[in-house]
């Protein structure tokens, strides 16, 4: 696997498409145990990102991702803006001036992104947040790389782990974000942010395999 600058932009635009398609779905998930705006927030954010990159995408992968993160931060508000924004900015910092990345780079970038999310949101595994999709995905990716799987296979593992994580959020009590006000009543419902994270992994995987 090797992804260049243009491909990164393509992937981000595809993420924007997928978010748009799932706007209602994500919003409905958030309505049940949150405030019903996650799809709207993400759609607003990625719409702005698409416009931003059209106008000035930056010179290298680091730039692209930092611009993506900053645009998310500046346009979303709420919880997901700073979280996804920080994730993309940290990934961008990690990528630096690279014009091409491979699966090992991706693993490092994802590690930085997850660290950023945890630093910003103070959530840990089992708090019923996006961390419950991202952290298992990162573990699965790392393990697959260690086991010598192909990048394609490794990414597939990550996507599967993310969706397993999403599924698991149904079983647990929310301890961070708005859903935490519901305490026990949050059980049985899937976390919206974890779902959007899994959706992003799936989009990346699909785009790498086209």
């Amino acid at each position: 696997m090797s992804i260049n600058r243009a491909k990164v932009i393509e992937i981000i635009n595809k993420i924007a498409d997928r978010i748009e398609e799932n706007k209602l779905y994500l919003t409905e998930l958030d309505a049940v145990i949150g405030d019903g705006d996650h799809g709207l927030n993400m759609s607003k954010g990625f719409h702005a990102v698409r416009e931003k990159l059209k106008e000035d995408a930056g010179n290298n992968i680091g730039d692209i991702l930092k611009k993506t993160g900053m645009t998310l931060v500046s346009n979303v508000g709420g919880a997901s803006g700073p979280l996804y924004g920080t994730a993309f900015m940290k990934a961008g910092l990690e990528a630096g001036s690279k014009e091409e990345i491979d699966v090992i780079d991706f693993e490092k970038m994802l590690t930085a992104a997850l660290d950023g999310i945890k630093m910003r949101g103070k959530a840990v595994l089992e708090d019923k947040t996006m961390v419950d999709a991202i952290e298992p995905a990162l573990y699965a990716l790392s393990k697959a790389i260690q086991l010598g799987l192909s990048s394609k296979e490794a990414l597939k593992e990550a996507v599967d782990a993310a969706y397993k994580g999403v599924e698991h959020t149904k079983a647990i009590i929310a301890r961070k974000g708005r859903a935490s006000y519901l305490a026990e009543r949050s059980i049985g419902h899937q976390d919206a942010g974890a779902t959007s994270s899994a959706l992003i992994f799936k989009t990346i995987y699909e785009e790498i395999n086209v």
Binding site: D37, V73, G77, R178
Partner: protein
């Protein structure tokens, strides 16, 4: 959706314009941002206070910009935290060299966006600190969770920290006073009807004709439980008892009371609630030093109210009494 609005996506911007047109003697708007600052900002040498959050809680927060309260108020979309950019702009516009205190309500989104703005301002060498208001006793406080929400008690923080800042106190001192208010104020609310976020166009929860939600948050977040309609006295008793369980007041102590309307509940009903609050406190030997009754932190057109009780000491009493002159809160 029965609202006096134009396009749902423009409500915040049009409101901010309406505020500036109504109160040009108090506030001005930062160009391109939904931020209101004191007309004469920055005030050299004075610690500046910035608050904000999602819109839909008017007069919070723009109504409290003025002498003796806030220097800046940042308005996000309805019920959505503002992004860091306008907060950062507000900080820059109000800093008079003595630093800026951010007053943040305890919601994940608010905290993260205000923190990011703080980091941005610190890169410009502006002294910034923040306090987090978490007065809502309806939500359990636990180290494992996001903790209690910030609701109407925040207005006491604005008033008292604002008065402290006017005395020429340092950022550390203003923060300490703000934190003292936070440590001593507890609130709890209830709702009779839901409300409608303009962009959504429909209520995001429902209450039966004979139902109310006890412990309701100011964004329609669920409270402790649904209950059948009760009398004002019973509802008030429940709210005040939950507050007192947590605040642990002793006989002879003095408090300030705020009976806050969420929007549709008439002042008549708020005063009926206040009567009962007084009776309960009186029975327990607690002295009411000052009472505020009105709409201080609303929730769009929701019907319901919250009660806040602030335990006072000498400093807090003096600062609570100090002059304030803002569009929505005046104290002579």
């Amino acid at each position: 959706m029965k609202k006096l609005i134009n396009q749902p996506e423009n409500v915040v911007e049009e409101m901010i314009e309406g505020i500036v047109l109504a109160h040009p003697e108090y506030v001005r708007k930062l160009k391109e941002f939904n931020v209101l600052v004191r007309k004469n900002s920055p005030i050299t040498g004075k610690v500046a206070l910035v608050s904000g959050g999602g819109s839909g809680h008017e007069p919070s927060h723009g109504g409290y910009v003025g002498k003796g309260m806030l220097d800046g108020a940042v308005a996000g979309d309805v019920f959505t935290s503002p992004t860091p950019d306008p907060i950062y702009e507000a900080i820059k516009a109000v800093d008079g060299g003595a630093g800026v205190l951010l007053i943040v309500k305890n919601y994940t989104g608010d905290i993260m966006n205000f923190e990011m703005a703080k980091e941005m301002a610190e890169m410009e060498l502006i002294k910034v600190d923040y306090v987090v208001v978490n007065d809502d006793v309806a939500v359990e406080n636990s180290t494992y969770t996001a903790g209690r929400r910030g609701i109407a008690g925040t207005v006491f923080v604005h008033k008292i920290a604002g008065a402290k800042a006017e005395t020429g106190a340092t950022l550390e001192e203003v923060k300490e006073t703000a934190q003292k208010v936070i440590d001593n104020v507890r609130s709890m609310g209830m709702a009779l009807t839901p409300c409608i976020v303009p962009a959504a166009g429909k209520a995001n929860f429902t209450l039966g004709e004979n139902e109310m939600e006890i412990g309701m948050g100011i964004h329609g977040e669920p409270g402790t439980h649904k209950d059948t309609l009760k009398t004002a006295d019973e509802v008030t008793e429940h709210l005040v008892c939950k507050i007192l369980e947590d605040l642990k007041l002793k006989d002879g102590e003095e408090v300030a009371v705020m009976v806050n309307g969420l929007a549709s509940t008439p002042l008549m009903e708020l005063y009926i609630v206040n009567k009962k609050v007084n009776e309960i406190l009186w029975e327990k030997g607690i002295k009411v030093y000052k009472t505020l009754v009105g709409e201080f932190m609303t929730s769009l057109e929701m019907a319901g109210c919250s009660v806040s009780i602030l335990k006072l000491d000498k400093e807090l009493k003096t600062l609570l009494d100090a002059t304030a002159d803002t569009p929505a809160f005046k104290s002579l």
